[in-house]
Every structure is written in structure tokens, then in C-alpha cells.
Symmetry: C2
Subunit: 155 residues, 2 copies
């Protein structure tokens, strides 16, 4: 049993069949052939789907993910382009760390309103600073749109 049908892939990955078809349509994955009408997938599709899921967690669109690691294994993005993405992620990671700290603070701080707490104010300032640095550093960037990220509904 080297090849899997779509339901098997779905079971292994937790991704809905309709989504898997969608990814194929968009060129992020490829099926190795058909048995009758039914798609057959090789085992490599599992890694590819893991990669897609990962990319979506990072907030990348399917297009962007395809450009970074499409099914052909050849990134359509230049080396600097990829490093750029990695740098974006680094910044995003720092932002999330700040957010996490703020949430924990809100959970633990006894102040009646967190907005009145000096520590919280300070956390906001920090994240604000970071944001301004970004703007300054990137200086008139071309306005990439940054689409949806969802957690897969376990339907």
C-alpha cells in the first residue's frame, strides 16, 4: 500500500478532503495519479501538508507558502526574499512574546483596570516602539496583503 486515497490523507493529517482538493487546485500539492476518478497521493504529500499547516500558522497565504516551498521543492522566491520572510517571522515572534506577557499580566495583575497599571502601560509602549522601528527600517514597503489564518475546524 504505497499510495493513499484522499480520505486516508485526510485521516493522517486532520485536514478536510475538500481542503486537500483545494490545495491541489491551487498548486500547493500534487496527486501522483488516479484510480478511476479517485486521486492517489504518495507519502510525500504528508510532509507537504505539514509544511502548509505550518505556513498558515505563520500567517502566510497559500500563494506565499507555494512560493516558499511548493510541491516541486524549488522555492520560487529568491534567497533574500526568503531571508526577508524569516526576518518578518522574527519580528512577529517578538510581538507575540510581548502579547503573551501582557495577557499573563492581565491575568495576574490586581489593578482594577489594566490600562491604569504602569507595568501594562510600559508593555504597550515597548510593543509600540517595536512597531515604529519596523516602519522606519522598511521605509515605504510595497503593501503586501496578509490574508486569513484559521485553525482547522474538526468537522
Amino acid at each position: 500500500m504505497k499510495f493513499m486515497d484522499i480520505s486516508e490523507v485526510s485521516k493522517q493529517t486532520g485536514i478536510a478532503s475538500s481542503a486537500i482538493r483545494h490545495y491541489e487546485e491551487k498548486g500547493l500539492i500534487t496527486s501522483v495519479g488516479r484510480r478511476g476518478l479517485k486521486r492517489l497521493f504518495g507519502p510525500e504529500v504528508l510532509d507537504q501538508l505539514a509544511l502548509i499547516t505550518l505556513g498558515k500558522t505563520g500567517g502566510f497565504s497559500l500563494e506565499e507558502i507555494k512560493a516558499m516551498f511548493g510541491p516541486d521543492g524549488r522555492p520560487a522566491l529568491s534567497r533574500p526574499g526568503l531571508h526577508q520572510r524569516a526576518d518578518d517571522l522574527d519580528r512577529q515572534i517578538h510581538t507575540l512574546e510581548a502579547l503573551r506577557d501582557m495577557i499573563r499580566h492581565v491575568a495576574d495583575c490586581p489593578a482594577p483596570s489594566h490600562m491604569e497599571c504602569p507595568k501594562f502601560q510600559q508593555l504597550i509602549r515597548i510593543s509600540g516602539r517595536r512597531k515604529r522601528d519596523e516602519r522606519a527600517a522598511r521605509h515605504a514597503k510595497p503593501a503586501r496583503s496578509f490574508p486569513a489564518r484559521r485553525r482547522p475546524s474538526p468537522s
Copy 2:
């Protein structure tokens, strides 16, 4: 000049006026009053908007953000609920670190297809492991939907 009109807020934050109105409609912020028809905002709205932006970066929906730190300053979420959110963020951060490492690897690895590179394979395995742990740890979680996150278009 203690109060700002919507365009001033928009300028300070980089958030479109229409979005600011949208946030008010959804109850994430409040204007302090009107001059004629025009909304007037106090300075605190800037921090609130920073918080909203931050939350969106974390992939939280407006509803979720409102529950964590609404304009009233009182989280509608229980303490464990908030820690839960923070834990989610921690996991997400680790995932993003893995993704960042993979992207950097793709950028630098000379292998013809990254899928053939053992190091890359290994990175996927790691992220896969992480994911499985999550599933195991949380055991039939109630399927939160996880809406859009966008980078603000500099319109």
C-alpha cells in the same frame, strides 16, 4: 487639544478611519463624545488601538481581543481563560520559530529540493511532533475558529 477627531487618530495609529469606526461598532473602543456628528476620541484610545493591533498579530479575532482587554479595562475572560490564551501563544511562538528555521534553511541549503534534505525532513518531523503533542495534551478541544490577521495596508 485634548481630544482628537477620527482622522487624527487614524494618522497617529496608521489605522484607517473606517476600521476605527468598525472597532467602535464592535465595542472594542469608545469615543468620548461628538462635536456635531464627528466623533471625538480621548488619548487612551491610542493604547487601546495598539492593543488591538497586537492582538490581531496574535491571530485573535476582534471578539477574542474584546474579551481579553475591552475598552472597559475589565477582561471578560477568567484568569485560567487568559492563561490558556497565553499558553496558546507560547505554542504558536514555538511553531513560528520552527517555521523560521525552515525558511532560513531553504534559503541556504544547496540541496536541489529541500524535501530531499535530511535536515529539512528533520525540521518537519520536529514540528509534526509538536503538533501531535498539542492534540494529545488538549484532547478534544472545542474547535475555536481563528479568523483573519492582516498587515495594515498603508492606504
